[in-house]
Symmetry: D2
Amino acid sequence: MYSVAILGASGYAGGELIRFVDNHPGFEVSFLGAHRSAGETLGAVHPQLSGGDRALEAFDLERVSETDLVFMALPHGASGEPAMQLAGSGSKIVDLGSDFRLDTPERYLEAYGQDHPYPEELGKWVYGIPELFRDSIAPSDRVAVPGCYPTSAIIPLVPLIDARLIETRGIVVDSMSGVSGAGRGVSGSLQYGAIDESVKAYSMLTHRHRPEMEQTLDMFGTAPTSVLFTPHLVPMQRGLLSTIYASAATDTSLESLTGAFDEQYVDALFVKRSEAPPETRWVVGSNNLMVSIHLDERTSTVVIVSAIDNLVKGAAGQAVQSANLMFGFGESTGLPSEGWMP
Amino acid sequence: MYSVAILGASGYAGGELIRFVDNHPGFEVSFLGAHRSAGETLGAVHPQLSGGDRALEAFDLERVSETDLVFMALPHGASGEPAMQLAGSGSKIVDLGSDFRLDTPERYLEAYGQDHPYPEELGKWVYGIPELFRDSIAPSDRVAVPGCYPTSAIIPLVPLIDARLIETRGIVVDSMSGVSGAGRGVSGSLQYGAIDESVKAYSMLTHRHRPEMEQTLDMFGTAPTSVLFTPHLVPMQRGLLSTIYASAATDTSLESLTGAFDEQYVDALFVKRSEAPPETRWVVGSNNLMVSIHLDERTSTVVIVSAIDNLVKGAAGQAVQSANLMFGFGESTGLPSEGWMP
Amino acid sequence: MYSVAILGASGYAGGELIRFVDNHPGFEVSFLGAHRSAGETLGAVHPQLSGGDRALEAFDLERVSETDLVFMALPHGASGEPAMQLAGSGSKIVDLGSDFRLDTPERYLEAYGQDHPYPEELGKWVYGIPELFRDSIAPSDRVAVPGCYPTSAIIPLVPLIDARLIETRGIVVDSMSGVSGAGRGVSGSLQYGAIDESVKAYSMLTHRHRPEMEQTLDMFGTAPTSVLFTPHLVPMQRGLLSTIYASAATDTSLESLTGAFDEQYVDALFVKRSEAPPETRWVVGSNNLMVSIHLDERTSTVVIVSAIDNLVKGAAGQAVQSANLMFGFGESTGLPSEGWMP
Amino acid sequence: MYSVAILGASGYAGGELIRFVDNHPGFEVSFLGAHRSAGETLGAVHPQLSGGDRALEAFDLERVSETDLVFMALPHGASGEPAMQLAGSGSKIVDLGSDFRLDTPERYLEAYGQDHPYPEELGKWVYGIPELFRDSIAPSDRVAVPGCYPTSAIIPLVPLIDARLIETRGIVVDSMSGVSGAGRGVSGSLQYGAIDESVKAYSMLTHRHRPEMEQTLDMFGTAPTSVLFTPHLVPMQRGLLSTIYASAATDTSLESLTGAFDEQYVDALFVKRSEAPPETRWVVGSNNLMVSIHLDERTSTVVIVSAIDNLVKGAAGQAVQSANLMFGFGESTGLPSEGWMP
């Protein structure tokens, strides 16, 4: 059994990490780290989990450094310092945060509006989409798991860009996310009265996940990618749906699109294509990503609908999937391949 | 007091029509028509309304033809016959259905996949957006109220097309609607278990409201319009949000966009622009439409976010607004200019 | 037109008060008071309302004292000081808070666990249920509007107690409230993630509304009342349903129960009895209270189901209803007698 | 591996049964039976599950009779015939329906208003609450799993009745259920528009689960039990909360209540007591039942709050728990002891 530390155990992604590790045959929780909730029991913050008398503790890097695997599920900006302090320990790190996803200081500055505190680290971390970067993830000891929105967009777009079936400029990613994507922090804009029975767009034109999408898509195309990304918040707990619009290349047919997709993901256990546009309830609770692909011949536009559970394939599930590769387990070990409905 | 018949009184739009007419100083309900619910009391189908002992009756065209005003809130295809039978009566008709919105048999065939039963009627009905067609609605006795999705898209797009600030080809309208937009019919896809905690796209590339949008936008542009429309269903009762993408024309600035919009609607009581993207809860319960306009300079794309209550500005409210013009009342008479929140 | 000050304008009840006053033929808003939101525009906190450029202002008691009518919709404990400062001004006060509802210092201490700061005031305020205390409210200039839970329980229980049809000891009031009943303050327990898709009981055995119920019921019975009250929070914005259990007196029949109820409320515009248990959506948006009455002969228990909109009949609507009496308007003036559904 | 047939595979409980069996180390699905959905693939009705190309088939009793274990998750009245046809086969049956839960023809007639078609069967089936009837379930080949409401009420009440701490007459069970408890059938009363943002009581005084509660509680008390049961429907998918009121016996203390409960369930893996009233989100997704116990000394009333996931501990989970006992597996094998939140 490999020992696991989870930093940020009190959040929603932290709770799912604990649940997956508790049910994993090769990992076991040995340290639960929290900031504000340090000193509380697990049962007080996650009453849905077993072992409610386990303690949430302040970060004790010495103890963390003795574990085999560290999951960090921390707010933006909070992963840097513990990651640096763990350098030199034997612990492998899977970071669910956004600190180490981008590849250059310039891109980081553009996305987050400030300089990266450890710019020399950028580029050392592997971007944790197992379906695309399996061979890099397996030998790595530093993996940065993508954001939920980029996961939903990159996986379906890559095979189409790779096969030159769509234009890389002016891709529109229009997404809706359940509220758990905003984390468990307390704010007026996340009160029930502000969310229930309403939808809204937010972070118009400036959401931080856009550079992350472009960076990865750029790896597969011949020309630079530009994405226009509009996230929306919808009144549900979990689930993320992206509707993606891209100009079709000349001669692109529906068959070429679905063919390229199917070929890319023939061995991907968690990636599924359906004819009908997927509903988020089809994937909630599982690590699956479901996609439908459409071609609007009137406007020569490829339309993709992509659905994930933002806390599973969009966060904790994808993190465990990467960790499985890093420790030699089967990629789906301990992960739910079946969701719950309703 | 003008007497009013409401055909389709048992539906959601029918209920809102009754509520608005009950509170209107110049209209009064004199006939409530229903198909399946004929013979029931109003209280049995709309327990939220007063006068619950009023009867829902089978369509009695003779009695209907004695009223001054007929609202028809019927399923697609059901307005044609009663409308034709009322020809020659003095009753003015406001149809909330889709039978008489399109202007040519060709466009109708494209949208609905079948020939129109009364093709000679097409073009005789005025399209009921008061903010754009006030002068045609006032003298008319036949008004076809737009669908909810077209209302949300046409009102913000018209001034930008009219001022040549956006390209008319390849406009993307990506919308989310509350479930009441699907009406009150019973189906497995509208069960609570199929809707709650999930979102989905539907009618991919083929939704019937798209030709309606193009028809009206074509009236204001120099080149034909093409729209790619993707509706989504989200777990809430009311509210409709459209996020609209259009290529900016050369030299278009944010100021030119907001300026054109503000100038067009300077006198429109129910159309409001906000800097922040509007949330649907800001308009639910009122006849307001709220819009924000954005310009993405990276991709030269204009992004518009537009919010309405699908049952009010998207249906019953806009119908009463048109009727007010037809009968010489102030345009906002009897209509809610303030919504409820939460 | 009578001028109106609304203190606590930024809350949910405050927003409804503004909406009702804006639509009232005899009242007009002349001062909007707020604590934390002072300095903001109305549009910033209530974007659903008209006149969004109206200012929210810090309490200026001098200006408030020049108005004819003051609504106070403040957190518990915050009404006392402004109420005392307005003594001697000509302003009539309708308080939606709980500071002046109880009749004795002892009962206040029992309910709130501390001494009342102005004990001599207790007993001077009229309890604002127009259906029961119309004659006292009309000439009063100090009215304390009941809480939402007591409103739902007292109105149906009074005629049954008054007619000696139920025992007054051991009445169980088991209620569910929509989340707006908890107000608009920000807390972790009111976040969307803590409310959606879950229900819970709270304030077990100790909720502050219980003494309020007993105080009023005691006025109608021959023996002291004891109530066991369990409130639950359910995932919806508005609406409150109470299911009430009381032991039937000897010889009580269903006919005697419904007869007593109907007789008491024969002239009450907003109180309605139905055979089927009312659903909250039947009353949401209106000032109505709907009740069904049942008799379980197996256990000799009377069961009552009672539904209101907690923000309307349970707060702002009942406040305006009382104010109508105080200023000589018809009791239902400016109040919605029809709700919205869905 | 034991082979398993699931009859009623297309419903919500059927879907959960498939999920649990797919993840069970000792059971495997070998037949999926459905009525209306026969001929469809599993993926068409349960897109959240794996193996979507598995067929749903019309009941083929010959093939079913070759399986080791048959789960029946059928509408009321539909279990009788297949159960009788399987008599003599070696298949063990776990019925999630209500056909075989009651012990006498008289009680069945009272509950369901008609005679039982196979009265000689009543009393042969073991009532499937493992925490109470472990020793009878293990050797049985016919188990009738309780309804969701009875499960939530019986488990907490039994130790208190058994220890003579509460009166057995006039117990009030006031419950709220998520909508999945009503099954997956299509009806107007289960449409999103009829459920969302509303609560209601239903089956006032006459719900069929009441005799089931009394039958089992009678086994533990000295005097006959009488229960008054009021179920409510609340706008959420899963979760069931019961708030239970019973008169305290003389000398009952809070300590005696919690002591009796804790002693009864010291070895019950899925039954947990908390000081605070449990929220349904604490148990949704798991097979847990959580309880809090309170004593109101003012009215000498014991109040219990009890929470389960109606589809897991209230249906499919409890069925698998019983099957585990019948086949010699550990009671919790293949069952989730940790829920999801949010």
